[in-house]
Amino acid sequence: MIVAERLLPAVLGLALAGAAAAADPGRGAGLYEARCGACHSLDAHRVGPLHRGVVGRRAGSAPGYDYSPALAAAAFTWDAALLDAWLKDPEALVPGQRMGYSVADASDRGDLVAFLLSVSRR
C-alpha cells in the first residue's frame, strides 16, 4: 500500500508526460486563441492573468494581477498535471476560484497544456 501510494503520483506523472509528448502545441496555440483569448494573453493581464512562464510558477502569483483569495492562497506550483486538472474542473482543484471555464475534451486539454509548456520554457 505504502509503495503504491508513493508510486502512484510518479506513474501518473509519467503518463501525463507521455500524453504531453504526443500533444500538439501548434494545435494548442489555435485552441488558446479561440478559447482562452477572451480572458487571457501571454504577456498582459486581462480579465485573467498573463500566461507566459506559468509552468513552474506558483499558482496565483503573477505580480500585478488581482487573484481570488482562493487561488492567491494556493500552495502549489503549476505543472502539466495540475494544469490539466485545472482546465478539466477549476472549482474541483481550487474551490472558490473565479475562472469558471473548463475544457471537457482530454486531447484538447493536452494540446493546450503543451502550448502553455512551450511558452514557459526559458
Binding site: 486563441e33 479561440a34 478559447r35 486581462r46 469558471g100
Partner: protein, 196 residues
C-alpha cells in the same frame, strides 16, 4: 463598407443603423436580467460562485467597450463602419449595465473598469494601423467572448443565469458574424464551431 450588400440593402442598413445608434437605452435589458426576484434569493445554488462568473463576464464587457472606444477614437474607422462599431459598443454597454444590476441583486460587488489606456496597452492597440486591423481585433474579441460565455454556462448554479450567459453569447456571435463578413472571412465549414 462593413457588409457587402446591394445598394438597396445598403440604404436599408443605413436606415437601420441611423435609427439604432440614436436609441435611448431604456433599461429594458437590465430589467430582463434583474427583474427576476427569485435571483435575489438564489438560496438553492452558490450565489458567490455565480457572482464570480458574472464579474468575469463584466470584465469582458468593460474590455469590449474600451476596445470599441479605442477603435472609434482612432480615426481609422470610416462611416458606416464607425456607426456599426458604435452600435456594437452600445450593446456591450447594455450588457454591462445588466450584469452590474444582476451582480448587485445577488449581493455582490461589480468589478470596476480599468482605464481605456490600460485596455489599449493590454490589447496591443498601438499596433493598430488600419480599419482592417481594428475589425480583426474586434472579431477576435467577439469570438473569444462568445466562446467564453458558452464555456461558463455549466458553471452557474442558477439556471436563469445560464440562460443570460447564452443570450450574451448570442449577441457576441451576431457581432462576430457581421465582422467576419465585413472582413471577407468564410462562413465556418463545420457546424458547432462555437464554444467547443
Amino acid at each position: 463598407m462593413l457588409i457587402k450588400t446591394t445598394p438597396a440593402q445598403y440604404s436599408a442598413r443605413r436606415n437601420f443603423l441611423g435609427r439604432s445608434t440614436s436609441i435611448a437605452l431604456s433599461g429594458a435589458a437590465v430589467a430582463l436580467l434583474a427583474g427576476n426576484s427569485r435571483l435575489a434569493v438564489a438560496a438553492t445554488g452558490n450565489p458567490s460562485g455565480d457572482v464570480n462568473i458574472l464579474n468575469v463576464a463584466l470584465g469582458l464587457e468593460h474590455e469590449a467597450i474600451a476596445a470599441y472606444q479605442v477603435g472609434a477614437e482612432s480615426g481609422l474607422l470610416q462611416k458606416p463602419v464607425l456607426d456599426t462599431a458604435v452600435l456594437f459598443q452600445s450593446h456591450h454597454k447594455q450588457h454591462r449595465d445588466a450584469l452590474v444590476a444582476t451582480i448587485e441583486k445577488l449581493g455582490g460587488k461589480p468589478v470596476m473598469a480599468k482605464s481605456n489606456s490600460d485596455y489599449a496597452a493590454s490589447l496591443g492597440a498601438g499596433g493598430l494601423k488600419s480599419q482592417t486591423d481594428i475589425l480583426n481585433l474586434a472579431a477576435r474579441l467577439e469570438l473569444g467572448a462568445a466562446n467564453a460565455y458558452i464555456g461558463v454556462i455549466p458553471a452557474f448554479s442558477e439556471k436563469d443565469l445560464a440562460k443570460v450567459a447564452a443570450r450574451l453569447a448570442a449577441d457576441e456571435t451576431m457581432h462576430w458574424s457581421l465582422l467576419a463578413n465585413a472582413l471577407g472571412k468564410p462562413v465556418p465549414m463545420a457546424a458547432l464551431s462555437f464554444g467547443a
